[in-house]
């Protein structure tokens, strides 16, 4: 027996919502970053679930791509956050308002 597709999608939607709320409400850059990862993986879950449903590999291939890109993004993003923390002794995104118009 197979798990119905809706289960996966509900989990995916919950993860994505948690990630979205995290991005919006948290101030710490590191937490926001983690929330973004949560959103990415929620989408990956949905992709794989749909892939299974249609019996096609396209979705899974796309999931791999997004994981690779996410890995690269983590490298760059963490480096930026660490550098910002070193310079300012704070990782709060609300302090980073230099580009205010």
């Amino acid at each position: 027996m197979t798990t119905p597709i809706s289960y996966f999608l509900v989990v995916s939607a919950m993860l994505f919502s948690i990630g979205t709320i995290g991005v919006l409400v948290r101030k710490n850059a590191l937490i926001i970053f983690m929330s973004v990862e949560l959103q990415l993986n929620a989408v990956n879950l949905a992709l794989v679930a749909f892939s299974r449903m249609h019996n096609e590999l396209d979705g899974q291939v796309l999931a791999f791509f997004s994981m690779v890109v996410a890995a690269a993004e983590v490298v760059v993003g963490l480096a930026i956050i660490v550098t910002v923390y070193r310079r300012r002794r704070s990782a709060s995104v609300d302090d980073l308002t230099v580009l205010r118009g």
């Binding site: 230099v98 205010r100 118009g101």
Partner: protein, 631 residues
């Protein structure tokens, strides 16, 4: 030589090019300017030699076939409109070319001495050569459009040379005045040329005059002639477009002699004589020429008597003499007009250049009230001026006598009694107004302490030649109205002189002319040189009359009131429109854009999370939009 006639304008043009671009504005430390002057003079002299060659060739042909047209190249073609660059050699054009190059060369020679110390002498000779080139294009052109090119070209050179000392505000404004005033006439003239093409389908002289005889209505001929006449009036400084000529005396004296006495200002007379077929066809236009000429002659004669600036007095006398030429042309006495044109070129150039000697010797003093008795310091110049003045006054056997006497006599013998009376008055006044500067400047009591010096030999040489021409010119060219050499020579172009019978015999008329001239000179001597009349007190005793004469009947003021005043008002109104409406619109748009762009930064506050929220809301809105569309 006839096929080489293009050389005549080309040589001075080459001189202008060399002077302007190669020798040009004298570079510091190099005295090329005077050499440029010699070059310019030599090239005009060469052009004169070519003209003489062309004249000899022309004389070798039978009188009726003396027309030679050299087509250089096709200039403009558009549909049926076609204009060539073509030069025409016929008795009329070669007469003009000889005067322009001959008198021009002498004045160039004089100018080498006169302009010697001017730092921009190279530029001066470039302009002077350019003027001669354009003037020759004007007189040698075979169609109206090429004539117009020369016509505008001499106007440009006149502007450049009047304003040659452009650091004097009076000179630069006089230059502008001359340019703008003549431009009014030129615009009308251009319209006349367009009308010629519309009615006759060509601009070539032969075609136009050939067609006109059969295919032109009197109304069209009148319109064309009057428009051409407007151009002539502007260029020749006749009423009512004369106001620029006295002011043009701000230019260097050789310029006044060449452009504003001997050549350019007589271009209007040339135009009328050249177009005489059209004027005769109209009839009315010819009468207008006569009236304009006569009124201008009398007006300028009176104005000249009121001037104390020697050059302005001579300028008004030029206007008056050209009035006589128009008067003669208006009566159909074209050979008389041309004889006066040629003789006037001789003696007026002589008078102006001698006035240049006076200016040169007296540190640019032009006010005759501070001259007087110069015959002691400047004996040679006195002789030159006396020859020129007596010639203009009409004392035989000088050139002016023949020209003026023939014109006045013609008026008497052609049943124009009123014109004859007025012309006689004009003749008397002309003798008076030219004897006046002679006596004021060279005779009477000295009214100046400074010592005047005589001009150097280089400047006296051309004057001697001109004086010789004045003495011999009339005898050689115009002994009698019908049989004079010039009249016979010009006959194929302008027709024979038609003499009507008159109440007075030829001899009586000549005696009368001479008597009038002598009387006027004696009156002038008695008033301005004998010391018995206190002429200096005249402005105080008769302030009204003196003011009218000195200000030339206040026509300048009238024009200022009629044109300048409304013009300035209109300009001010335009300025308000420009500042409020046009600038206002542009500045308003810029202000609005600026205000709008100040709103944009307020949403860019630098908070990453607010951007994220906007991002989210945008995505939701997009999804809703797409979702609703699918549903």
């Amino acid at each position: 030589m006839l096929d080489l006639i293009w050389l005549v304008p080309a040589l001075p043009l080459a001189g202008a090019t060399v002077n302007l671009f190669l020798l040009g504005p004298s570079r510091p430390g190099r005295r090329l300017g005077r050499n440029g002057g010699w070059l310019a003079t030599a090239l005009v002299g060469l052009a004169f030699a070519v003209s003489v060659g062309a004249l000899l060739d022309l004389l070798a042909i039978g009188a009726e076939e003396r027309v030679h047209v050299t087509r250089l190249f096709e200039w403009i073609t558009a549909g049926s409109f076609s204009v060539d660059v073509a030069f025409r050699v016929d008795p009329l054009s070669i007469t003009m070319a000889l005067v322009v190059t001959g008198v021009g060369a002498l004045i160039h020679l004089y100018a080498i001495g006169y302009m010697e110390h001017d730092p921009r002498i190279g530029t001066f000779f470039a302009y002077l050569n350019l003027f001669v080139a354009f003037m020759l294009v004007l007189v040698l052109a075979d169609n109206y459009l090429l004539l117009f090119v020369g016509w505008e070209g001499v106007g440009l050179c006149s502007y450049l040379l009047i304003g040659f000392w452009y650091d004097r505000p009076t000179a630069s404004s006089a230059a502008k005045k001359a340019f703008v005033t003549t431009r009014i006439g030129d615009a009308a003239m251009l319209l006349g040329i367009v009308l010629i093409f519309v009615h006759l389908g060509s601009l070539d002289f032969d075609a136009v005059f050939g067609e006109a005889a059969g295919g032109l209505t009197q109304g069209a001929a009148t319109a064309i002639s009057l428009l051409l006449l407007a151009g002539a009036i502007g260029k020749s400084a006749q009423l009512p477009l004369h106001v620029w000529l006295p002011d043009a005396m701000e230019g260097p004296t050789p310029v006044s002699a060449l452009i504003h006495a001997a050549t350019m200002v007589t271009a209007g007379v040339y135009l009328v004589v050249r177009s005489h077929v059209l004027f005769e066809l109209s009839g009315t236009a010819l009468t207008v020429v006569l009236v304009v000429g006569l009124v201008s002659a009398l007006y300028a004669a009176l104005a000249s008597i009121g001037q104390f600036d020697i050059k302005r007095a001579l300028a008004y006398s030029t206007m008056s003499q050209i009035g006589f030429m128009f008067f003669a042309a208006g009566m159909g006495f074209y050979t008389g007009a041309m004889l006066l044109l040629v003789c006037h070129a001789f003696y007026k150039a002589l008078l102006f250049l001698t006035a240049g000697n006076v200016l040169h010797g007296m540190d640019d003093e032009t006010d005759m009230r501070r001259m007087g008795g110069l015959r002691v310091d400047m004996p040679v110049s006195t002789v030159w001026f006396a020859i020129g003045a007596l010639s203009l006054a009409g004392i035989p056997p000088l050139a002016g006598f023949f020209a003026k006497d023939q014109i006045v006599s013609f008026a008497s013998t052609s049943d124009r009694d009123l014109a004859w009376v007025l012309a006689t008055i004009g003749a008397f006044l002309s003798a008076l107004y030219i004897a006046r500067p002679l006596f004021l400047t060279f005779f009477g009591r000295r009214r100046n302490d400074s010592h005047a010096h005589e001009a150097p030999g280089l400047m006296q040489t051309p004057l001697a030649v001109l004086a010789l021409l004045v003495v011999a010119g009339g005898l050689v060219l115009g002994l009698t109205a019908e049989g004079g050499r010039l009249a016979v020579f010009l006959e194929p172009v302008v027709g024979a002189v038609e003499h009507g019978g008159g109440a007075l015999s030829e001899g009586t008329l000549i005696g009368f002319s001479v008597a009038i001239a002598v009387a006027a000179v004696l009156v002038a001597y008695w008033v301005w040189a004998s010391g018995r009349v206190n002429w200096q007190a005249f402005p105080e005793r008769q302030p009204e009359l003196a003011g009218w004469l000195a200000n030339a009947f206040y026509l300048n003021a009238l024009y200022a009131w009629l044109v300048q005043f409304p013009g300035k008002g209109f300009g001010r109104a335009l300025r308000v429109v420009d500042e409020r409406v046009i600038d206002g619109a542009v500045n308003g748009v810029a202000d609005e854009v600026g205000d709008a762009s100040r709103l944009a930064p307020t949403i860019q506050r630098g908070f990453v999370r607010s951007y994220a929220l906007a991002f989210l809301l945008g995505a939701v809105a997009l999804l809703l939009f797409l979702g609703l569309r699918i549903v």
